[in-house]
């Protein structure tokens, strides 16, 4: 796409009136404000959380003992919970979302595709508190019933949270996968079909290989959303501290209650923590860890998307 500058830059000798640069100045100022906000957020977390790293060192991340009254802050169980819950959600949502995206992009006529896209985006817009409510009132009991052979203690568990998150991120994966596939030129599809490939073969040999960046980005962005989701997870995860699987290879730990970083932050402990500087620093550092996780995922996704659009151009 040709990118032409908007207007010929006027030479300085003709002077720029104040008004001519005002819009430009304001726009840049606003953009700087947004950047400043992000930087302020990041610095605040680093600064306010600093104390606990001194106190615990890397044990903050790798030890499983969160007993704030005794000034122990080992958040391993929460990191574990976050990863398990989000990973499980992704495992469920990614294949279905990509499959659905393939269907809407390749097998549906334009009108239907738009209709499905709209439906799915509405699904993506449902507030997390509503998902949480549904989780409490339906999913919780269903999980408890379905897992009864294994005698779970309650329906609130890492599994429940994982399933709920999967439903929440499914629309994201689907919409973005659909967009990624739409970016593949129809000339390519036509050339493949002209050679006698079936539609499925053309999708698998031509479309998917070319759309892979967008699809991986879709998965990563969905992962980011799952990692950061607080309200819905808070309501169904059980909020049990210091959970750690006795046997890493069994699935048993999944059906027990747990705690994620976000469920801890959304709890009343945040307000309690303010009174104690170390406790407060610990809570903030939890936020910092979450920030780091989501930032990595987001940055990679952004890179992929930009590489993808460079390829299309």
């Amino acid at each position: 796409m040709a990118s032409t500058p908007i207007a010929v830059q006027q030479p300085w000798s003709q002077g720029r009136t104040l008004r001519s640069s005002f819009t430009r100045w304001m726009s840049y100022a606003f953009s700087t404000l947004a950047i400043a906000f992000v930087l302020a957020l990041l610095s605040l977390y680093v600064w306010q959380g600093f104390a606990v790293w001194r106190h615990e060192g890397l044990g903050f991340l790798f030890e499983n003992n969160w007993f704030y009254r005794q000034q122990h802050f080992g958040a391993l169980s929460m990191v574990y919970g976050t990863i398990i819950v989000s990973g499980f959600a992704l495992l469920l949502a990614a294949p279905i979302g990509i499959g659905a995206g393939i269907f809407s992009s390749e097998f549906l006529p334009l009108r239907l595709r738009l209709a499905v896209k709209i439906i799915i985006e509405l699904l993506a817009g449902i507030p997390s508190v509503v998902y949480g409510l549904l989780g409490i009132l339906f999913l919780r009991d269903w999980v408890y019933g379905a897992l009864s052979p294994w005698e779970p203690l309650s329906g609130d568990s890492l599994l429940t949270a994982g399933i709920l998150l999967a439903v929440m991120i499914l629309p994201t994966v689907m919409t973005l996968a659909d967009d990624a596939l739409r970016g593949v030129s129809s000339a390519q599809r036509l050339a493949a079909r002209g050679l006698g490939l079936t539609q499925t073969e053309s999708i698998i040999s031509v479309c998917l290989p070319q759309a892979w960046r967008g699809i991986v980005a879709a998965i990563l962005l969905a992962l980011g959303r799952a990692l950061g989701e607080a309200i819905a997870v808070f309501l169904v995860v059980g909020r049990q501290d210091n959970q750690w699987p006795a046997n890493v290879f069994s699935l048993r730990p999944l059906i027990e209650s747990g705690q994620t970083i976000t469920s801890k932050l959304a709890s009343s402990e945040t307000n309690i923590a303010y009174g104690d500087p170390l406790h407060w620093a610990a809570m903030i550092s939890l936020g910092l860890v979450l920030l780091a996780l989501t930032a990595v995922v987001t940055v990679i996704a952004n890179r992929l998307v930009q590489r993808a659009s460079r390829h299309d151009a």
Binding site: T4, A34, L41, V116, G125, P127, V129, T270, V299, Q306
Partner: protein
């Protein structure tokens, strides 16, 4: 024919996935409407909460949510316009243009609860505002800023270069082109983005639960300091926890239905403009 069989199987598999996705929405919508509808009435929307949500209505919750999202829009719209202009006009074609997109991605990726904590530290504690509707509005505004901006940017990039070249050819200065060509033509993007931003802001709980909202006891805000509001999502959040009184049940679902309806309404309202942008993008 083996190849044809594989094709049919693949087609079926992907169709099932799409059906699952759409089916989930249908089930969710059905569940909420079925349970929430009994609670919906004129009284529900015009009265305030009594008996911890077991009676009365959600009038002030609605007021609070409206105040919060309106503030969010006022905060984010100008910023969105500025950033979109930087992306679409001042840095168009430059290799720095991607950095704007990067910024938006970054902002969008920050979990909403971290906005809430940030607000707690800076506004509630440091500035000493206590819980305030303004804090909530600002935080929500920054949260939905990417949503508003991206819609606007998408609209701007579909503006034909020919329009802008014609304007430049007539001798208009850059800022005149912006105000008389770019912005008016991009209005549909701003409307779309604003509606989607409002929809998103309306449903958020995490940014406001520490900073702006309480469960009961507030009506209209009176100033900025120590002026929390009630809100719909937080109301649902509190009631949903712990085992709740069955008599609260219908009202809880009614609140959920109302919130859902509000969010869906705003999102659907954006549809005509979004479809128009889609049409225009195809024809260019």
């Amino acid at each position: 024919m083996m190849r044809n069989f594989k094709h049919r199987v693949f087609q079926l598999a992907t169709a099932v996935c799409a059906a699952v996705a759409c089916g989930i929405l249908a089930m969710i919508a059905l569940a909420i409407v079925r349970r929430g509808w009994p609670a919906v009435s004129w009284q529900f929307y015009t009265e305030q909460i009594r008996l911890v949500g077991a009676a009365g209505g959600i009038f002030y919750n609605l007021i609070g949510t409206f105040i919060l999202i309106a503030t969010a829009l006022i905060v984010s719209a100008p910023l969105a316009v500025g950033i979109a202009l930087v992306h679409g006009v001042y840095l168009r074609g430059s290799r720095h243009q991607e950095k704007v997109t990067f910024l938006l991605y970054l902002l969008n990726g920050i979990p909403s609860i971290l906005f809430g904590l940030f607000g707690l530290i800076v506004f509630v504690k440091f500035f000493g505002l206590g819980k305030s509707w303004l804090t909530g509005g600002i935080l929500l505004g920054m949260l939905v800023l990417p949503t508003v901006t991206v819609a606007l940017c998408e609209r701007m990039t579909t503006l034909p270069a020919a329009y802008l070249e014609a304007a430049a050819g007539l001798g208009l200065r850059q800022s005149q082109i912006v105000w008389s060509v770019v912005l008016p033509q991009s209005l549909s993007g701003l409307i779309t983005g604003s509606l989607l931003g409002l929809a998103r802001a309306a449903g958020e709980t995490a940014p406001i639960m520490f900073t702006a909202t309480i469960f009961a006891g507030a009506t209209f805000p009176h100033g900025i300091k120590e002026s929390p509001v009630l809100s719909l999502p937080y109301h649902i959040f509190i009631l949903a926890q712990d085992s709740f009184d069955p008599s609260v049940g219908a009202k809880l679902w009614g609140s959920a239905l109302t919130l859902l309806a509000l969010v869906l309404f705003l999102s659907l309202l954006a549809l005509p403009w979004r479809l128009r942008i889609h049409e225009e993008a195809r024809h260019d």
